[in-house]
Symmetry: C2
Subunit: 68 residues, 2 copies
């Protein structure tokens, strides 16, 4: 994640379920500490997004991670 | 959460465990959609924080929510 933000300026992850969302937030916190050493500050913007999985509609969490 | 940000300009929540962190992120996403209607954009900054619970050291997720 730190690499993607360093190169592209932003990253996006989607998660379904508490475990996946927890992992995603931890990944942001870890990427943030890496990038902070390089003087890059990142923030994340959570929103809900509907995704279709096996023709079933599920609500996922979308995390946009960008330079803050 | 939306109310706290509206009044104080920022909010902070700490969570331990996947379920609590998931709830916290959902709360941010919901607060964000409320505040967006008022023209206020918010972002969140996750980090790790060590907290002592019953004299045991646990690692919590700290979410700082601020105007973006």
């Amino acid at each position: 994640m730190a690499g993607v933000i360093r190169e592209a300026g932003h990253a996006e992850v989607q998660s379904i379920g508490a475990g996946a969302t927890n992992q995603a937030i931890k990944a942001v916190a870890i990427a943030r500490s890496y990038l902070q050493e390089e003087g890059i500050d990142i923030v994340c913007v959570p929103s809900f997004i509907d995704v279709a999985i096996d023709e079933e509609e599920r609500t996922a969490i979308r995390l946009l991670i960008k330079k803050g």
